[in-house]
Symmetry: C2
Subunit: 323 residues, 2 copies
């Protein structure tokens, strides 16, 4: 089977690719394990190819019709659509957000529909689809009310994935991801970038600036669990998902203060002392609009799980990135 990962050069795309290459097999739409014969990593910058013959690296614009028709064909049995313009950037550049977060997934879905072989499509959504007055724990039945363009675009993507699935054009799965922490690499333009930075920078001997107050609660998932969830979400049968293709993934509800306390517990007071506070109202407005927790019992009943606690997330980062 041939698999496409959009956003394949991103940290989640790269980790997913590595895990898929190790696994070597995924379930096709009939539930049969099939060897992964080709793994296409598409992104605006060249992805790492893991020196693996199965990997094909393609660089280009995912909103480009011609490119997408080259990349997607009848042999593409599964697509992980991870590419996105992150929240802060989509808020700052409305046109870019609409193009990559709305036009691109729609183009992808329309090409799948034209091809007609009903591939599996795993689409990542976000806490940012929720907003406004929320219950303490968001339920599957809670109305979406995005307070950012990124959130609105993701909510639209969810509706498209569900409708294209209902019509039988694709076999779609929408995974609503908690905020991912600890992301490796550099800060990005996501409003939630600090949720990784306040841990990652101190662990790398750098100072970090936190743009929100310590009592702000976040709904978090580690990169390891996120990749597990992407694969588990792919492997679920269409029957298990039924007519509701959107899954709220398990996460941990943690305050910024608790995150810093866990950092101190794992790496000492010196690490925690590297964090200073400089409140950024634009970031705080967006991040505060997101739920601090949601009921993930549907995903848990399907075998998906959250991290044990935030200290174990930090230890996993150290293991994966610093050793």
């Amino acid at each position: 089977m041939k698999i496409l990962i959009t956003g394949g050069a991103g940290f989640l795309g790269q980790r997913l690719a590595r895990q898929l290459l190790t696994l070597g097999q995924l379930r096709d739409s009939h539930g049969q394990l099939q060897d992964i014969s080709e793994l296409v990593l598409l992104d605006v910058v060249a992805a790492h190819d893991f020196s693996d013959q199965r990997v094909r690296v393609i660089t280009g614009d995912i909103a480009d019709d011609g490119l997408m028709r080259q990349v997607l064909d009848h042999a593409t049995s599964s697509i992980f659509h991870l590419a996105a313009i992150v929240s802060g950037q989509a808020e700052a550049d409305f046109d870019l957000g609409m193009r990559i977060n709305l036009d691109a997934p729609r183009l992808l879905l329309d090409i799948c529909r034209e091809l007609g072989h009903k591939p599996k499509v795993v689409f990542t959504s976000s806490v940012a689809v929720y907003g406004g007055q929320l219950p303490d724990v968001v339920q599957d039945t809670t109305a979406l009310n995005p307070q950012s363009s990124y959130g609105a675009q993701k909510a639209i993507g969810e509706l498209l994935l569900n409708d294209y699935s209902r019509k039988g054009y694709i076999d779609g799965r929408v995974l609503r991801l908690p905020t991912i922490s600890v992301r490796p690499g550099k800060p990005n333009k996501a409003a939630s970038s600090f949720a990784s930075g306040i841990i990652r920078e101190p662990l790398n001997g750098l100072d970090a600036v936190c743009p929100v107050s310590t009592d702000l609660n976040l709904w978090l998932l580690s990169p390891r669990r996120a990749v597990d969830a992407l694969i588990a979400g792919h492997e679920l049968s269409a029957e298990t998902l039924g007519s509701q293709r959107t899954l709220n993934l398990p996460g941990l509800s943690v305050s910024v203060g608790q995150m810093i306390a866990a950092l101190e517990q794992v790496s000492g007071a010196d690490a925690a002392a590297r964090i200073s506070f400089e409140i950024d109202p634009a970031i705080e407005r967006i991040v505060k609009s997101w739920p601090a927790a949601w009921n993930a019992s549907r995903a848990v009943s399907m075998g998906l799980s959250a991290d044990k606690d935030f200290a174990s997330i930090i230890r996993a980062y150290i293991e994966d990135e610093l050793s």
Copy 2:
């Protein structure tokens, strides 16, 4: 002030136009009453112009960029976007539904954004944005879960209207309409077409076929009240609406059996006897996915109201259309 009505040749667009011409004034975005100097009725077929000098009738495709840029300009202070492909047709012709129910409103919003004068945009949405397992009475906080492409497209339109309003590109208002009954004219391709046909046809001495069973409950609004709601929704201040631009309009929860009983009450047993039943599973599936009632207290608190009972809806139809 100049006003644009898309779907201006439709029965709702025509009634709205007539009422606006009679009123002569609407509130601008500063809450000031302004004379209506020009009323543009845009549709695929020519609208009736009421022999009124203020009316300009334009025929064309609302998804056509060039046409929309001719029709919309800096003088357009308000837009009533009523044009849509109805539920049954959008389900049968996916591309047409996507073009008119998604691309067209997005084009309209993008032109407004480019113009930069932040016009009022009244967008009509529908019971069809809800679906799946619903509470007996849908709340403002209930998640959307459309079970038709029409419903998905309307839900996407709602998200766009809300985000473009939040960004300050337009001053948007989304009115979620109950099913409108009794619509005048001929049956159309809406899944809910029967909700008017089983009353209208007998009142016009014709036989009617009902494709759903008598215990199916509908959430209904008369054309009169729908036009009142369109104007009231336009006149609300942006401050009253706040960050939530979507309003669930008041309606009546009535079963098909109760509708037929009201017809018998108003027009006698002979009228009711003209209805025969022929269950259509495709129609029943779509209409059953819609809520039979929602909590409209937010709209009621803003001064909007439902019809008194279904018999008065029938009497209003007779007054408006048959006398």
